[in-house]
Symmetry: C2
Subunit: 383 residues, 2 copies
């Protein structure tokens, strides 16, 4: 049984004990900054840590502006709105993604349109997508529309699965040719680079998540990245209830959101961001350790950063060969029973009740991958 | 000039120095609980403080269930959805409110319908509302609709302005007669009681806010209150991405939200909630001090808790007589220039660009109050 071999490998790599999928690591200034924040009484919408986090995050990712918000879902919702997505538009997203990618589209009254992934990146496959758009997209005014639904195609949202950058070059070309706004869902890929440039900075806007299971966390938290100052200012405005600056008047000039990041959470984030290099190094070591330990099992391989990319290795991922794809659930059962937390990829979006009637391309690779991916314990500090 | 007299009164009551409108007070276990939370590594979606906060908040407000969420706006959006508000419904809200009340309606694709307030509570006026509904509402199936717009009237959302309970008895009768779900926006009224019962617990659901300027804060934060276990379970499900419980599968059975409260913020909230009685006592003392100091100025009075109610006195509020209503901006200017932060009531909802085309009742009292209300420095700890 392959499940037994995998447990053996994980035990060799990790030692005895129970292992979560991904635990945060607070080894820096977390306590100090949070204590300072409480002592200052500025725990909420105003405070120095939010500004500092935004500046440091922008510097780290090499983007002009970062806008801190309450979580990655909110970041993506606002980014899509700023990219011009309107009610009843369609937005192309991978079928293989966390549900937030589709939800953010839905919140805007738009419709997710699911596309296939490729095995080499686990992200959107530009060749398959171009073939699909060639068959379903037709010009309509200054945009393209889905000739089957009649809806405008508003945006393209690549997601960097488990931290592995997808083929941005191919996707940017499609976005250009079909006049789609490209908005990167980089929720999982803080620290990942494509051809040397940080993910989340290629499109018009990109978004990050700092949820508890992410490579750095602030309890919740997310951010919008953009090189467009005007869009960044608008993102800040929209996420702070669209209130116009005034000493006392409460005038809001559009329907805004209460999506600002509290200063308390930003304090935690500043401490976490200081340690990102150590976290990345640790995750890379864990990848190497797992890879070596898995080398003798022919039926599986460990997902490796795509060529030309540098991955953050957020979640280590076992890829089963077709031959043992049928044993996925047995492996999940055995590893979780042994205290080694593993999980499969998410249920594909078009197989979820709320999204099963949405438009979609043929999804053979996503369907296959969904049966063959298993995430392994991946916390920073394991290696 | 009345502005000079008011500054004199405020200085007598507060002493020298600059005074914010409302600052949080962290005099309890804030540092300890937050440190414990970080040390446990459970800062995010899982953690003991969220559960504890929900239990203690439910006990304090005397409601069966409290569901902690990321902020008061999110709480209201979800409460309205659970109360059955659908796209294109109308929801009756006060014109005199913070913009979040209207935004929460808008996020659901529904339309706010603005109603007038009464001077004695600063909240919705049941007599004026009944007259208005008598003229515009007509039965349609098992609900009523606005005969002018044709839209279903879905819910009624009283808001307890600055912490003063509005006339819930009258509003509950209207909700009954017009088959409206009553959802209380109690964002400002934690600690306020109507006929002995805590605000936010009268309707099908109620919502609270713990934003930085509120009577207790957790940086951000909000909660949904309900006596209906099924609705509470559904609120929890919806605010945690509607993921079905499973050891490893990611199946979401409806379009959910990433609205959970992080454990880090809940830790702060638990410490704050322990001090609510002291905060309320301090605010009541400040009311008494201001009231005494203002007694000799005939043209203004201090907003007092409505008869039969116990207010939390969240924001102390000066009400100008018509005779000096024209001096509002001069008073705001002079007090703010003197380092005494004051502010007027919010710009009325139907006067904001995004909501100016929404249906509305005649709003004479709201229009008048909007010109005559001034909030004074109100932090707990000032008295």
């Amino acid at each position: 049984m392959i499940a037994g071999s995998i447990i053996h490998v994980l035990r060799n790599a990790l030692g005895e004990g129970n292992f979560q999928l991904h635990e945060p690591c607070f080894a820096g200034n977390e306590q100090r900054y949070v204590q300072e924040c409480i002592a200052s009484t500025y725990v909420s919408s105003v405070g120095a840590y939010v500004e500092r986090f935004e500046k440091e995050l922008a510097a780290y990712t090499g983007v002009r502006r970062a806008v801190a918000v309450v979580n990655g879902t909110a970041a993506l919702q606002v980014a899509l709105q700023l990219a011009g997505v309107k009610t009843n538009d369609e937005v192309i997203v991978p079928a293989l993604t966390f549900v937030a990618t589709a939800n953010a589209v839905q919140y805007l009254g738009a419709v997710p349109h699911f596309a296939d992934s490729e095995e080499s990146t686990l992200g959107l496959d530009p060749r398959a997508l171009r073939d699909w758009l060639n068959s379903v997209a037709e010009p309509a005014g200054d945009a393209y529309r889905n000739r089957q639904s009649g809806r405008r195609l508003g945006a393209l949202v690549p997601m960097h699965t488990f931290g592995h950058p997808c083929d941005l070059e191919g996707l940017l070309a499609i976005a250009h040719d079909y006049r789609l706004a490209l908005v990167e869902d980089a929720a999982e890929s803080l620290g990942s680079r494509y051809q040397g440039q940080h993910t989340g900075t290629f499109g018009l806007l990109g978004t990050l998540s700092f949820n508890g299971n992410k490579i750095i966390t602030m309890g919740g938290g997310g951010a919008i990245l953009t090189n467009d100052e005007r869009l960044a200012d608008h993102a800040k405005h929209l996420t702070k209830t669209a209130k116009l600056p005034h000493r006392w008047d409460y005038v809001h000039d559009e329907v805004g959101y209460n999506f600002r990041m509290p200063n308390l959470n930003a304090a935690l984030g500043c401490a976490q961001l200081e340690q990102i290099s150590e976290f990345l190094a640790s995750k890379r070591r864990l990848f190497e350790r797992y890879q070596e330990a898995l080398a003798h099992i022919d039926e599986v391989y460990l997902m490796k950063e795509p060529s030309g990319s540098e991955s953050n290795y957020w979640l280590q991922t076992l890829v089963l060969s077709d031959a043992v794809g049928g044993q996925r659930d047995a492996i999940l059962q055995a590893t979780n029973d042994a205290g080694l937390m593993t999980r499969p990829a998410w249920r594909l979006m078009h197989r979820l009740e709320p999204y099963k009637k949405c438009p979609r391309a043929p999804l053979p690779v996503a369907e296959s991958l969904a049966q063959r991916l298993i995430n392994l314990p991946s916390s920073a500090g394991l290696a």
